[in-house]
């Protein structure tokens, strides 16, 4: 019966076909092979294995583009199809595709999910109809799934396979593109590093893990990919583990993620049982959307998964590992924060969106746990970015803030906006990180206040690309960040409060305000970074011991590309004053070209998703991203609504951002600069004059005391920790209370109280768990790192060496013993044996007849004796 209903599940669809869509496993496989190759043979290669990594990731990028092309082709195919209004069958080129697919499904049940299709909720179909807005309808495009049964137990199939749809190809392209650029950049940035090969090996594995994660067909595979990403980030953040801080940071990242991983495991198990014992992503989503799954279980499952998202995607209050992860090499930071690790959480929500959409009752509500977590995170991240001196930490908090934006967008139902923001953010955030790396490469420091300033003169290309990235991040039109940010703000539906009907999923006015404030703060702190890094006067070079350019150049002798890019002195007197330190100079082409490419992308990718009806442009160039990525009308994706784009909202947000830039500009470029070109803060500024601001500043400097709670350190102490834990727990509980209540309906107060109690309890437990974990881990950490390195140096290298030596030895052995000994020996022994036997037997034939007779009689006697004994 369910099969009969399947025809109308979420509206008519066609299934995507294409060799690359069905064999996408090749892409992660190539990276995995690259990892193994680099690890085992990298050190013996002329460029230390980096050439293998670059070649592999380049091939993967091309394959990802081809895959994306095939997917676009499939969506276009769907557009050319029509729907028979009577039986809802899809007709393509006069062929009934629905019938054909049904027949194929019946004949080959393994490669499709025919029996996993459930009756559709009305939501999917209505949304589908609304989406097309009364125009001629086209079928939706189902993901291309190919899977094999790995093993079966108790009637449950554990499958492995791939699932490719618009979301997957987006991530494939982003991951492989950013990874390629990071690989190229790294060849210069970590040149001469003591673990150069190791670094590239793990870049490959990291990329492979993320690609594996995004092509997962079931939740088990997602867990594997998720954990693999976590392990790789541990290895890469702790790349320079000899430094205690770095190894601590790697450990913190790993441990904090473990907390969320508990949520992931529990959530996945809950969903497994809730949706009729299936691991399939499509099956879980379909069960959630069709209403077969109990709503309570969906809510519990999605809350557990939110815990996982909080740790992996750096959401408040498990985000504390992310800034510390800056201890890793800058290219790794770019990779982690743009394309791989942290977007895994966002991807998880997007992939299982049916669960979240139904479980949190996103539609028609005004607040839920995911939106609140995301909203708080944007604010927390953006506010903390203000007080950082380390340029990478500013970007780290900025990443937290932008991830919060994405989570918030998913929370308010703006799925496409969230993925589009993920897409654009990947480019400009990678650009900013790589730009920061380029600057720090020149000044050998990340401290903006001590070692930077005035870098514009020395590094013109880095400056220009960084400026483009900053504008894109701040969200000023027409750069990429503007379009995606604006879509999220539209998606909150909060603007409907001012304009009437918004057609969004709900009325998330709070989220709109949070997003607006964050946009302003983002613009302001990026202005601050621009000033401290590129404007004013160069403050670096005081504390360097070497004084001559020659020494400096010698220092980087390995980096030949730098030599010709030295910026020319235009203020030699200053240099004399500072003791002849070599000026910082522009980075080499392998650093600059990735920056240029990313800057170009940061400008243009926003145009991929121009809003509906923009400037009366033809429909064929508007909403391209949404058209190809959003799975409209399929049974495994909830029927989300899309907010109407609003000119007034875009103008207001642009004004807000511009005002923020203006204020920050006035403070830094005018007030501070007038004081002294080398100054970084106003003397006796507002944070020193007003007690309230000062307290706020102190709190930000201490990162909301979260780290102190987690490790119980000063200056908070046990009592303070408990107090702050209560506050944060209460905040988390509020979110929980709201989501339990599904908005502002009945029984608001009791659920709020329960939420607070639950929140405080959970938070305290999490804090205690973290504290215990850190204690235990710091005990084993040193040994762990030592053992890891030892195993790499000795076991793996040792294995390769042993294999080589063993081959030579065994060949020698074969020659000496088998060939010379056995084969020649046999031939010789045959000769020698005959001649020896002859020699021996010759002595017997004496010619003495009587001796022969003696032997004969002895023999006869023996036989006679034998005869007597036997008979």
């Amino acid at each position: 019966m369910s099969f009969f209903l399947a025809a109308e599940a979420g509206g008519p669809t066609i299934t995507a076909e294409g060799w690359f869509l069905e064999n996408v496993y090749i892409i992660p496989l190539i990276m995995a092979i690259s990892f193994a190759t680099i690890l085992f043979f990298g050190k013996r290669m002329p460029r230390g294995g980096s050439e293998v990594g670059i070649a592999a990731v380049g091939v993967c990028f091309l394959l990802a583009l081809i895959t994306a092309g095939q997917w676009i082709g499939q969506v276009n195919r769907a557009d050319s199809c029509t729907i028979n209004p009577e039986d809802q069958h899809v007709i393509c080129d006069g062929i009934d595709v629905t019938e054909a697919e049904k027949a194929a499904a019946a004949g080959d049940p393994v490669s499709t999910f025919g029996d996993g299709e459930f009756a559709a909720g009305a939501t999917g179909f209505t949304a589908f109809a609304a989406e097309e807005d009364g125009e001629k309808q086209h079928p939706g495009v189902k993901a291309a799934v190919s899977q094999r049964t790995w093993w079966s137990n108790g009637g449950i199939d554990f499958t492995v396979g791939t699932m490719v749809d618009g979301l997957t190809v987006t991530l494939l392209v982003v991951v492989t593109l950013i990874s390629s650029l990071v690989h190229i950049y790294s060849t210069d940035y970590v040149a001469g590093d003591r673990r150069y090969t190791h670094f590239f090996a793990f870049l490959s594995l990291f990329t492979a893990a993320m690609l594996f994660f995004v092509t997962s067909e079931n939740t088990l595979q997602m867990i594997v990919g998720w954990e693999l990403v976590g392990v790789c980030s541990f290895a890469l953040i702790g790349h320079w583990w000899e430094d205690q801080d770095n190894s601590d940071a790697a450990l913190k990242a790993f441990l904090t993620n473990r907390v969320g991983d508990m949520g992931l495991l529990i959530g996945m198990i809950v969903l497994f049982f809730a949706s009729g014992e299936t691991w399939s992503i499509i099956g879980i989503n379909e069960a959630a959307i069709s209403g077969e799954t109990s709503h309570t279980l969906l809510l519990i499952g999605s809350l557990c998964l939110i815990a996982a998202v909080m740790s992996k995607s750096g959401q408040f209050f498990l985000h504390t590992w992310l800034p510390d992860a800056m201890a890793g090499p800058t290219p790794v930071s770019a990779l982690i924060h743009a394309a791989t690790m942290v977007v895994a959480g966002i991807y998880l929500v997007a992939r299982l969106y049916g669960v979240f959409f139904e479980g949190l009752s996103i539609s028609g509500s005004s607040l839920n746990a995911l939106a609140l977590v995301g909203g708080l995170t944007t604010l927390v991240g953006a506010s903390l970015a203000f007080v950082q001196d380390d340029i990478k930490k500013v970007l780290a908090y900025s990443t937290i803030s932008q991830l919060g934006y994405m989570a918030m967008a998913l929370g308010v139902g703006a799925w496409t906006a969230a993925i589009f923001h993920l897409f654009t953010h990947a480019f400009f955030k990678a650009l900013l990180f790589l730009g920061a790396g380029s600057v720090s490469h020149a000044v050998h420091s990340f401290d903006m206040k001590k070692d930077m300033g005035g870098m514009r003169k020395f590094m013109p290309t880095t400056y220009k690309t960084f400026l483009i990235g900053s504008i894109a991040l701040a969200g000023l039109p027409p750069l990429a960040g503007f379009w995606s940010k604006d879509e999220i703000l539209v998606g909150t539906g909060g603007w409907g409060f001012f304009e009437g009907e918004s057609h969004a999923n709900g009325a998330y006015t709070v989220m709109l305000i949070m997003g607006m404030i964050t946009a302003a703060m983002t613009a302001a702190y990026m202005t601050r970074v621009m000033y401290l890094t590129f404007f004013g006067e160069f403050r670096g070079g005081h504390h360097d011991d070497h004084v001559h350019d020659e020494d400096h150049a010698h220092d980087e002798a390995a980096e030949v590309d730098h030599a010709h890019a030295v910026a020319h002195h235009d203020d030699d007197s200053h240099d004399d004053h500072h003791g002849h330190h070599g000026e910082p100079h522009e980075s080499g082409p392998r650093i600059l070209w990735p920056l240029r490419i990313l800057a170009f992308l940061a400008v243009v990718v926003g145009f991929l998703n121009l809003p509906k009806g923009f400037l009366g442009l033809p429909k064929s160039i508007l909403q391209r991203f949404e058209h190809f990525v959003e799975p409209v009308g399929v049974s495994y994706f909830p029927g989300i609504s899309h907010g109407d784009p609003s000119w007034s909202l875009a103008i207001v947000s642009t004004i807000v951002v511009s005002l923020a830039v203006g204020v920050a500009y006035r403070y830094y470029f005018v007030t501070v600069n007038r004081q002294s070109p080398a100054a970084t803060e106003m003397v006796n500024g507002p944070t020193e004059r007003f007690p309230l601001l000062k307290a706020g500043h102190t709190m930000l400097k201490n990162r909301y005391y979260l780290d102190h709670i987690y490790d119980g350190g000063e200056p908070v102490g046990a009592a303070g920790a408990t107090a702050v834990a209560t506050i944060f727990g209460a905040a988390a509980g509020l979110a929980l209370g709201f989501s339990l209540d599904n908005g502002l309906d009945q029984d608001f107060v009791p659920s709020l109280i329960w939420g607070v109690v639950l929140g405080v309890t959970v938070f305290t437990i999490v804090s205690l768990a973290l504290r215990t974990g850190v204690g235990v881990a710091s005990f084993v950490k040193g040994r762990l790192a030592w053992a890891a390195n030892w195993s790499h140096e000795h076991l793996i290298d040792g294995t390769v060496d042993t294999i080589g030596e063993t081959s030579v030895k065994s060949a020698n052995f074969v020659y000496r013993y088998i060939d010379q000994g056995v084969i020649d020996g046999t031939v010789n022994a045959a000769g020698a044996g005959s001649s020896g036997a002859g020699d021996e037997l010759r002595r017997w034939s004496t010619g003495q007849v009587q001796q022969y007779a003696t032997v004969m009689f002895a023999g006869a006697t023996l036989l006679a004796g034998l005869l007597i004994i036997v008979i």
Partner: protein, 100 residues
């Protein structure tokens, strides 16, 4: 009269014969020792025939053996005579032309 007495006699004759064959250097004495062995067999045959009641009289075989032995001694003595003519000696130790 018991069978064992004849068997003992033949055994003694046989052993003497064997000794003669293995130990004597004189080729003629070796031939004579062979005759002793043959005769001990003859005694055995007649004794078994007599005491076990054979259907065919055992003396037939003995007569055959005596005839064959006579022929054998004839050939043997001819050989010894030829050896003596060639080597002026009938010492068997010196006749080792087959020595390897």
């Amino acid at each position: 009269m018991y069978l064992v007495q004849f068997l003992l006699l033949s055994s003694i004759l046989f052993c003497i014969g064997v000794y003669g064959v293995l130990a004597r250097r004189n080729a003629v004495l070796v031939l004579m020792s062979i005759e002793l062995i043959l005769n001990s067999v003859n005694i055995n045959l007649i004794a078994f025939g007599r005491f076990n009641g054979a259907t065919i009289p055992a003396e037939v075989f003995s007569l055959f053996i005596i005839a064959v032995a006579a022929a054998e001694v004839g050939v043997g003595l001819a050989l010894v005579l030829t050896i003596y003519r060639n080597r002026k000696s009938i010492d068997l130790h010196e006749v080792d032309l087959l020595k390897g």
